[in-house]
């Protein structure tokens, strides 16, 4: 996944959590929570949706790395390299090779 993919994913997930939030209007290096008026419940829902979509489970100590749009995209891009692959049904596939 590239940074652009990461950002696209963020836009999609945000749309589910906070439909009226418009990421295009936000400085990509500014803290998202404040700019988009998201509270900690929204944030947790965002990370839960991320986990369901990509299998990336963000540990609490990494939360600050995802606080900006750029930070989120970069984190997701690098984490997806090591995240398990999923098949069409969303089940984790194992590569025996």
């Amino acid at each position: 996944m590239t940074n652009d993919d990461g950002r696209a994913l963020l836009v999609e997930l945000l749309h589910r959590i906070a439909p009226e939030a418009d990421l295009a209007e936000v400085d990509p290096d500014a803290p998202m929570q404040e700019a988009l008026d998201l509270d900690s419940m929204d944030y947790l829902n965002l990370l839960t949706a991320l986990s369901e979509e990509t299998g990336i489970d963000v540990p609490e100590q990494d939360y600050p790395k995802l606080s900006t749009a750029n930070g989120f995209a970069a984190y997701v891009a690098s984490a997806s390299v090591s995240a398990p692959a999923r098949d069409a049904a969303g089940l984790v596939t194992f590569d025996p090779g």
């Binding site: 906070a18 008026d37 509270d39 419940m41 947790l44 829902n45 839960t48 986990s51 963000v58």
Partner: protein, 385 residues
């Protein structure tokens, strides 16, 4: 007996509009089933039915604006073989269990109406749950042959409210309620700083072992501690209506800000009895539905004490306005790291400011201070929450 009337879904509610019926004549319903969706100024509420029975005739159309207490449908109670009596006849008085100290179960609106009428609640046949007196029962009591309340003619067609309309209506409703609160409730305010080191360390350790979807927010600890403390201090947990009625169950109202402005504070029922995990699930579900604008009637009418947590906006302290007919409001600010002195040494510790707004007709500062101190004490032992 067995009539479904427009419920009071908040101290400020005067009318509601049926958006849709979820049942039709002949359907069997059980207590807790959703019978209709009602639009109020503040949000859309799924209204639950109080008793088991079979739906009779529906008496209101979607789009009709009806006053609180207006007859909406007949319900034939389960086990009854006779058809529902015609609305003009007063219902026979059901056996009402004697309350503690002669307390008559009645809705807040009924109490006010009775006081204004000069009626004795004891003498009124109650048709609410457990024989509780509803405002509409007072109408029947005062004039036995009265016809059912006529619906308020709908000023507008049945189209749903636009977003701007809804926001303006919400502002008006919240404003009216807060003005009433400040006018009628003699508020006193207390604040304390709670050491959150133990709580945050415990939470951090717990969450490290759990996937994102199963983690707890600090808000759960704050809510649970408040709920347990409310159980110990009945003067903080209940309703005011010409006198204080303490509540045995603790239903914590959670103040939830709505996108685009507005505020609702629906209840998490029996929060004092919930495991933290369950509380988190309930909280998440409640916030989601509050923001989607679909709450249940019991969530709107049942809070016995409310918690407001403005910590998300970086605010450290909130001195709130009590939601009538409740008698207390607990506020929490942001959990921040601050210098902390203990045993002559200074360090940094996560702390939170906890505040109490309470009704001086029901409690005084000493009681309030002990209540806050109890919340603080409970938060020192998070594993016991």
């Amino acid at each position: 007996m067995g009539d479904f009337r427009m419920p009071s879904l908040g101290a400020d509610m005067e009318t509601g509009t049926i958006v849709e019926w979820r049942v039709k004549p002949g359907d069997t319903v059980q207590r807790g089933d959703i019978i209709a969706v009602v639009d109020t100024e503040k949000s859309t509420i799924e209204v639950e039915v109080f008793e088991d029975g079979v739906i009779g005739e529906l008496l209101a159309e979607p789009g009709q604006e009806m006053p609180v207490g207006a007859l909406l449908a007949h319900i034939v109670p389960a086990g009854s073989s006779a058809p529902a009596p015609p609305p003009a006849e007063p219902a026979p008085a059901p056996a009402r269990p004697a309350g503690e100290g002669g307390f008559v179960r009645a809705s807040p609106l009924a109490r006010r109406t009775a006081a204004a009428q000069g009626s004795e609640l004891q003498a009124v046949a109650g048709t609410g749950p457990g024989g509780a007196v509803r405002a509409a029962d007072l109408d029947l009591h005062a004039e036995p042959a009265v016809a059912p309340a006529a619906p308020v003619p709908a000023a507008a067609p049945a189209a749903p409210r636009g977003a701007e309309d809804r926001q303006a209506a919400m502002r008006h409703a919240v404003g009216a309620l807060m003005a009433t609160s400040k006018r009628e409730i003699p508020h006193y305010y207390l604040a304390t700083t709670v050491d959150m080191r133990a709580a945050m360390a415990w939470l951090s350790e717990l969450n490290a072992k759990r996937p994102v979807a199963e983690r707890l927010l600090p808000a759960c600890l704050l809510l649970k501690a408040t709920a347990l403390a409310a159980r110990e201090f009945p003067s903080m947990n209940g309703f005011w209506d010409n006198g204080f009625q303490p509540s045995a169950p603790v239903h914590i109202g959670v103040a939830i800000s709505l996108r685009g402005g507005g505020l609702v504070a629906p209840a998490i029922h029996d929060a004092d009895r919930m495991e933290l995990r369950e509380l988190m699930i309930s909280l998440r579900d409640l916030v989601g539905r509050a923001r989607a604008g679909v709450l249940r009637s019991s969530e709107m009418s049942d809070p016995t004490i409310t918690v407001t947590n403005l910590g998300e906006q970086g605010v450290e302290e909130v001195f709130g306005v009590i939601y009538p007919p409740q008698v207390a409001l607990v506020g929490f600010g942001t959990i921040v790291e601050r210098p902390w002195a203990e045993a002559g040494m200074v360090g940094a510790r996560p702390v939170v400011r906890a505040t109490l707004a309470a009704d001086h007709r029901v409690s005084d500062g000493h009681e309030g201070a002990r209540f806050l101190a109890t919340i603080a004490r409970l938060l020192q032992a998070p594993e016991a929450l």
